[in-house]
């Protein structure tokens, strides 16, 4: 844990942060809205005070109520992992600015998040499905996509078409979708 890093973030990004800077084990966590994302990430990358030049990971998260894009950075200025959560994206049309201008390698990670969650990265020049077939319609890692419970079916019965999402019958969506305050 690096308490000095937290103070630096609070001083630099103060009003932009949408939640407190949290620290646990070797991780520091920032939370911002989609509007500030490109500016904050550019500052983290460019300013020598931070110098987070290594993008360790880019992940989409569906909390059941909103969508998030979670970035992890490594920087020489701190022993911590930096986690940046771009929070509060609407589930029907999540949009965030792309970071491919800073890290061209993020292109495929953004494609994956698009493929799995339907998050649109504005500025990514090649945002198409990467794992699923091109005519696929659903977003498999969303919490309203349910796995077909056909593990016990006989092999002869064939594979169930996986495109639809299978909510348990007679259940209200509120009871079936897993939610958390992530």
């Amino acid at each position: 844990m690096d308490p000095a890093l937290r103070r630096r973030f609070e001083r630099r990004f103060g009003e932009r942060l949408t939640g407190p800077v949290r620290q646990r084990h070797d991780e520091t966590e920032l939370r911002i809205g989609a509007g500030d994302a490109s500016e904050v990430i550019r500052a983290l990358h460019d300013e020598p005070e931070f110098g987070f030049t290594f993008l360790a990971d880019l992940a989409g998260v569906d909390t059941g109520t909103t969508m998030q894009v979670v970035y992890h950075f490594w920087g020489a200025s701190t022993p911590d992992w930096l986690r940046l959560i771009v929070d509060g994206l609407p589930r029907d049309d999540p949009r965030v600015p792309s970071v491919t201008a800073l890290w061209k390698g993020a292109e495929w990670m953004e494609r994956e998040a698009y493929d799995m969650f339907g998050i649109t990265f504005e500025g990514n020049r090649d945002l198409r499905r990467i794992y699923m077939p091109p005519d696929y319609q659903s977003f498999p890692l969303r919490k309203d996509f349910f796995l077909a419970d056909d593990a016990a079916r006989s092999p002869g019965a064939g594979v169930r078409h996986m495109e639809q999402t299978h909510a348990p019958r007679n259940a209200t969506p509120a009871a079936t979708i897993r939610r958390t305050k992530a």
């Binding site: 646990r24 084990h25 070797d26 991780e27 966590e29 030049t53 290594f54 993008l55 360790a56 990971d57 992940a59 998260v61 569906d62 979670v70 992890h72 490594w74 020489a76 022993p79 992992w81 986690r83 800073l102 890290w103 061209k104 390698g105 993020a106 292109e107 495929w108 990670m109 994956e112 799995m116 020049r125 090649d126 945002l127 198409r128 499905r129 990467i130 794992y131 699923m132 077939p133 091109p134 005519d135 696929y136 319609q137 498999p140 890692l141 996509f145 796995l147 064939g158 594979v159 078409h161 996986m162 495109e163 897993r178 939610r179 958390t180 305050k181 992530a182």
Partner: protein, 409 residues
Amino acid sequence: MTAPTRPRGHASTDDPRVMLDEQIGVFEPIPPYPPRTEREAEFYTLGDGEMFINIGPQHPSTHGVLRIVLKIDGENVVDLDPVLGYLHRGVEKLCENADYHQAICYLDPLEYVSSLFCEWPGVMAFEKLLDVQVPRRAEYIRVLSSELNRVASHALFMGWMALDLGGLTPILWSFIERDEIVEMLASLTGQRMLFNYFRIGGVNGDLNHEFMSRLGDWMSRATSQIESNISLLNENEIFVRRMRGLGTMDTETALRMCMSGPNLRATGVPFDLRRAHPYSVFPELEFDIPTRTEGDCLARYLVRLEEIKQSLRIIDQCLHNMPDGPVMAKLPRLLRPRPGRAYAGIEGPRGQYAAYVVSDGTDQPFRMRIHDPSYLHLQSVGLLMPGHLIADAMAVMASLDPIMGGVDK
């Protein structure tokens, strides 16, 4: 009896009934649908004298089930479009529907050449969520077994590299090395390839007599055996000349492409998570971080060779400093971590393996994100291949050492 009908509504290529009557199986390079992005439109438009060639999805040089559409002009690669997803199993979704213990065994087949490195970040992230202190002996056993796995992985890389350049002998030699290590790990873990050995809070079993005797036996001749394998290639002029100056990447680009591991170190950055972000017992161990400055195929190959030697050093230290004690922390059988988030990254033979886990307080992870370096290295193939001959393009790909199991998750 009625004839099978096509499903109503949307037809997808993953429906076996569609496959039967539409004869999918011949891979046309140009997709039968309008381009979805600007880049796709640009790629699938042929310039003067250019043509497409389709490699894969079943092709020995793609190291798995990968399809690459090459745009070529004569013998030169102009551009390429890798098509993924043939091995996609949805491991992340499966992990989210399994409990914390079950999730570990889904991580193994991601990287079937060095499985322990896929288990480790997942287990480490779970331990962070649960605030578990792993016993020191367990940490040493983890380091020992994973470094053995690193040697096995790099040994196989040497063989593959030569195989993709047209030499058959080295892969036979490197499999001798790999097989000895794999057998050794099998006596420790009970499995040859997908070990499922790490547990939340420790490892599955303590070191046993058979493993120790095999390891001692191997260690006594490992150095000379590996040296002789290396001399087979390093002194081969054809091999060295072909690799030198091929697929060169500079530091700036490597960082922009999010590369890590030996591929990044071959461009001159001494970035190794074992030192840059120390975990486990690596701060107590002595080893060097080999780097090269050329950033070409030969540099990537030589960095990996040096890493084998460093791994042997680490294994030696582990054996000498192995502490006594338990190999598992005391934990309840049903794990329900408090709601929270954890990220763990480790240095594997290909780069940074990482896991990001979100817990919602139940016994199943709410979100499990798996980060695999092969995915990013395969992406940079698009940057390195253009301008090379088709034969060299495969060598470039082999030198980046992507594993399709990790790429396709």
